[in-house]
């Protein structure tokens, strides 16, 4: 009678707990969605930055032309005259996701435009990501930790920075795919079901479609399998979790055109194949061990080891020269720059020049993950009591992601989910202890245990030994044990029964804290959470919501809005021919093709270093040489971003040294030292003449002296060196309202050349070698 009553109240409380969890998760999803809407409220529903414009353009193409045209799309409006195969070089996950959402909504007669769907894809998928974090942490530690981790991930600033409404980039979808794949892997590991292994492989396929960071998954999971094998935790579930994943995952990864055969040929995937072989060897060894007696097994080991050594040496001697024959040992440039952080600065200046690829500063850790930074170590300790396969995986995840986030600021994004999981576990365990103390102190009377159920820990006060009874899941006490027993995998219950029967003999002692201490501690933890929330909302509202295509500043007159970029692109769109080519630095390529709809020479994809170096050389050369380079590329207009009038840092003059470096990397006649005075980069009167005569200087500061009479550059805070000069080969066609974007047109060749007619004509028509001999210069300039 008493048992049935207790059972009924327990199931009632469990049902109540489930409903509460559901509503909490709903609220977490709404929170994740709405915290990312600051940019839409403060500015407008517009696509941000640079890369999202390319994704937006691709999605537009997909929705207009259909999927077959998308797969076979060859884009001739970028990288003129080379073009770019979009179907084969883009990660299609994001565009296919947004395209299918748009198609679904339109088939239901909800007429949302493609731009709206693109802008709001990120917040929707961050809500999905926080739900996936809940599922993942539930596999590791239980429901309470799961809910905390989901709430933390909904708000963590480093994830917000890459997934605000309008930041339509790969990471928006990829982080969701990453967490979901890890969740399915842990689920397979815990249950041993082949069904979840299939789902795991399919989720990995979605991740490969979405982001180049999928190599993190295909290296982390094998690392974890190796860790389990080495620490003696090999089990049949591990084999089921890993082996089908590798085979199916490799096949699915090869299906994506971007990856193709790289899935079996690059070093990033070799770890998975190596561990695949190792796990088969280990499985076979365990199988034979089960078949034979101990003596026979030793004989077998002796025989196999001596024979296997020979085979091993043969295989290694074949593989090593094969791998060593490639100069990068099979790794791609970007992966190599992760393993060796100095690699990019020595060999590939383009990778080095991207601001996202720089190492982060210490304050950026506090800015991006705030309070979680010191909850993570507590979470790591909590994962060790008890250490299961799932918690060892999460520990490995946090350790590797901390290392990679230290190499590149962009990878702080991969650290964010791991930090949230760890902090969720830490906070949940802390609340466990504190609320149990409160409840125990308040109840006062020792409670009798249920008959026959020894799955319990034993709490000790000053004088008496008490057995705690089975408590409902919302109390979060032994929810780890209960959550698993309440599910269908009975083998876990058996494992815990075996462990608990040992424990009841050892009589583990737990301290219960005094009432006042625990209440104050609970209040302090809640205060900590409040600080975290305040910081996250501030970060989302003030720092990470800028669309960077529209700038604002607060002055004495109030709010000033600088919409110069869109002004310039609109001018290009309406005042030039459709087939005109526009040359600019590669930062603005995506925006130009998307908004101005004109062909560009180089864009943000940066796949062809020589082409970018050509543009860089043109920008660093004197006017005539630059004109010739641009004319050879059929360029009609040159676009330059200039921030000296309003004090906008990060314009082309600030980036100019990168143009020189990249250009100089391919064309040796451009030397960085020519543009520096005493190793200092300046544009005032002390600048060397190469600097004052180069195209970038002239196009930026043409007629600049007319603004204030002195030519004071507000971004560099000096007066410019050369103030009065004329342009002979370019003419200015448009300058935006705040002088931020300046567009110049190439002047066509004169009809009549007076005087030195034959000599100049023959020199410009001559081949490279004859002009070299005639010019007599030591440095070979291919355009003279």
């Amino acid at each position: 009678m008493e048992v049935s009553e207790n059972g009924k109240s327990a199931s009632l409380r469990q049902a109540f707990g489930n409903v509460l969890s559901f509503f909490i998760l709903l609220l977490v999803g709404v929170l994740a969605f709405s915290i990312r809407l600051f940019s839409v409220i403060k500015y407008e529903s517009v696509i941000h930055e640079f890369d999202p414009y390319f994704n937006y353009r691709v999605t537009q193409y997909l929705t207009k032309k259909g999927i077959y045209e998308f797969w076979n799309w060859f884009d001739d409006r970028s990288w003129y005259p080379l073009g770019r195969v979009i179907g084969g070089t883009v990660y299609p996950g994001l565009t296919l996701t947004a395209g299918s959402i748009w198609w679904l909504l339109n088939s239901l007669n909800v007429p949302l435009s493609v731009e709206t769907v693109c802008v709001f894809t990120s917040p929707i998928f961050s809500a999905n990501a926080s739900w996936a974090t809940y599922l993942l942490t539930k596999e590791v530690k239980g429901t309470g930790a799961g809910l905390t981790a989901a709430a933390l991930l909904a708000m963590v600033p480093s994830y917000i920075s890459r997934s605000v409404a309008g930041s339509y980039d790969n990471e928006a979808v990829a982080i969701f795919a990453l967490i979901f794949t890890f969740y399915l892997y842990l689920k397979t590991l815990n249950t041993g079901s082949l069904f979840y292994a299939t789902l795991n492989a399919l989720s990995y396929f979605y991740m490969v479609c979405s982001w180049g960071g999928y190599t993190f998954i295909i290296n982390l999971i094998p690392m974890h399998v190796l860790l389990c094998i080495v620490t003696g935790r090999y089990s049949a579930r591990l084999y089921i979790a890993y082996a089908p994943f590798v085979v199916l995952g490799t096949l699915l990864a090869s299906l994506v055109p971007v990856v193709g055969f790289n899935a079996v040929m690059t070093s990033e995937h070799f770890a998975s194949f190596l561990i695949f072989i190792i796990i088969h060897v280990v499985a076979f060894v365990y199988y034979i061990k089960g078949l034979l007696s101990q003596k026979m097994f030793n004989v077998a080991v002796a025989l196999v080891v001596s024979f296997g050594m020979v085979v091993c040496c043969a295989v290694v001697s074949v593989l090593v020269p094969l791998v060593a024959s490639s100069p990068t040992k099979g790794w791609s440039g970007r992966s190599l720059s992760l393993l060796d952080p100095t690699y990019a600065s020595k060999y590939i200046p383009i990778i080095d020049s991207v601001s996202e690829h720089q190492p982060p500063t210490w304050p950026s850790y506090f800015m991006d993950i705030n309070v979680l930074a010191f909850l993570v170590p507590a979470g790591i300790i909590a994962c060790f009591e008890p250490l299961s396969d799932a918690s060892s995986f999460v520990v490995l995840y946090i350790v590797t992601s901390v290392y990679f986030s230290g190499v590149m600021v962009r990878l702080m994004l991969v650290l964010a989910p791991a930090a949230c999981i760890m902090s969720g576990i830490a906070l949940s365990e802390a609340f466990n202890v504190l609320t149990r103390s409160v409840k125990f102190q308040l109840s006062g009377v020792p409670e009798k245990s249920q008959s026959g159920d020894t799955t319990s820990r034993i709490a000790v006060t000053q004088s008496e030994v008490v057995k705690t009874e089975k408590q409902p899941p919302i109390d979060k006490t032994e929810d780890t044990i209960k959550e698993r027993t309440s599910k269908k995998n009975k083998k876990k219950e058996k494992e815990h029964e075996e462990k608990a029967s040992l424990k009841s003999q050892i009589q583990k002692r737990l301290l219960v804290l005094p009432l006042e201490t625990s209440i104050i501690a609970i209040l302090l933890l809640v205060l900590l959470g409040a600080f975290y929330v305040v910081h996250c909302v501030w970060a989302a509202a003030e720092t990470y919501s800028a669309p960077s295509i529209v700038l604002t500043s607060y002055s004495d007159d109030g709010l000033q809005v600088f919409d110069d970029f869109r002004e310039a692109y609109a001018w290009l769109r309406h005042n030039t021919e459709v087939d005109d080519k526009v040359a600019s630095w590669w930062d603005y390529g995506y925006q130009t093709t998307a908004m101005a709809n004109r062909t560009v020479i180089v864009d943000n994809n940066t796949w062809n270093n020589t082409h970018i170096a050509t543009v860089g050389t043109a920008m660093s050369s004197p006017e005539k040489a630059a004109w010739e380079i641009f004319n050879s590329l059929d360029v009609k207009y040159v676009l330059v971003v200039f921030g000296g009038f309003i004090g906008y840092l990060g314009d082309d003059i600030d980036k100019f040294l990168w143009m020189v470096r990249i250009g100089g990397g391919v064309f040796p006649h451009i030397k960085e030292s020519d543009y520096l005075r005493d190793d200092e980069y300046r544009i005032d009167s002390q600048a060397p003449s190469t600097m004052l005569n180069c195209l970038m200087y002239k196009l930026s500061y043409y007629r600049f002296v007319e603004t204030d009479g002195k030519g004071f550059d507000r971004a560099r805070e000096t007066e410019i060196g050369k103030k009065y000069f004329e342009l002979n080969y370019f003419e200015e066609v448009f300058t935006t309202h705040h002088w931020m974007v300046r567009i110049y047109k190439l002047k066509s060749l004169k009809n009549r050349i007076r005087g030195k007619a034959k000599k100049s004509k023959s020199s410009s028509e001559g081949s490279v070698t004859t002009s070299l001999k005639r010019s007599g210069k030591i440095k070979r300039n291919p355009w003279h």
Binding site: N72, G192, L202, R237, S254, G260, G290, L292, K491
Partner: protein, 165 residues
């Protein structure tokens, strides 16, 4: 020294054989299927070594399909084996249903990948031009092995599984 090792080896093989005879029949059928799949994979590798690796996607999908069904059959064997304490409560029908589902996904991917149009990265011609040219003779051989042997193997396996269980 050599005689003792050969005697040891003989004793080892004897004990292995006697222990293996004791396994139930349905497990032995699964083992036979695994050996069949691995040997098909080896035949394909040897064929590629002789004939050359173009088209690479056909070779890759053929070998990986054989290895994949072998791995899945091993997983099935693990889940069905009555000596495994961890899977005591898993009904064998559920294990077989998971096995079939995973094989379905695997073979769907294989069928897609075996005639994969990988050359559009380097070429601007349309899709239809390439479809005929890449189905060359090594590819046809792989498709032959693939379409006949493996599904038939699965079908036979399921029949015998029901008989022996």
């Amino acid at each position: 020294m050599a005689r003792s090792t050969t005697r040891d080896a003989q004793a080892l093989i004897q004990s292995l054989r006697s222990a293996y005879v004791a396994t139930p029949t349905n497990l032995k059928i699964i083992d036979l299927y695994v050996i069949f799949a691995i040997s098909t994979a080896l035949i394909q590798v040897v064929y590629m070594a002789i004939v050359g690796s173009f088209p690479f996607n056909s070779f890759l999908s053929g070998v990986l399909s054989c290895v994949g069904t072998a791995v899945l059959a091993v997983c099935l064997r693990i889940q069905v084996n009555k000596e495994n304490k961890e899977f005591k409560d898993l009904p064998p029908e559920r294990a077989f249903a998971d096995f079939v589902l995973c094989n379905l996904v695997l073979h769907l991917v294989i069928m897609n990948f075996i005639v994969y149009i990988n050359s559009f990265i380097f070429n601007r011609r349309s899709v239809s031009d390439h479809q005929s040219s890449s189905v060359s003779s090594p590819c046809k051989k792989t498709i032959f092995i693939e379409t006949l042997a493996i599904p038939r193997g699965i079908y036979r396996l399921s029949e015998m599984f029901q008989l022996a269980a």
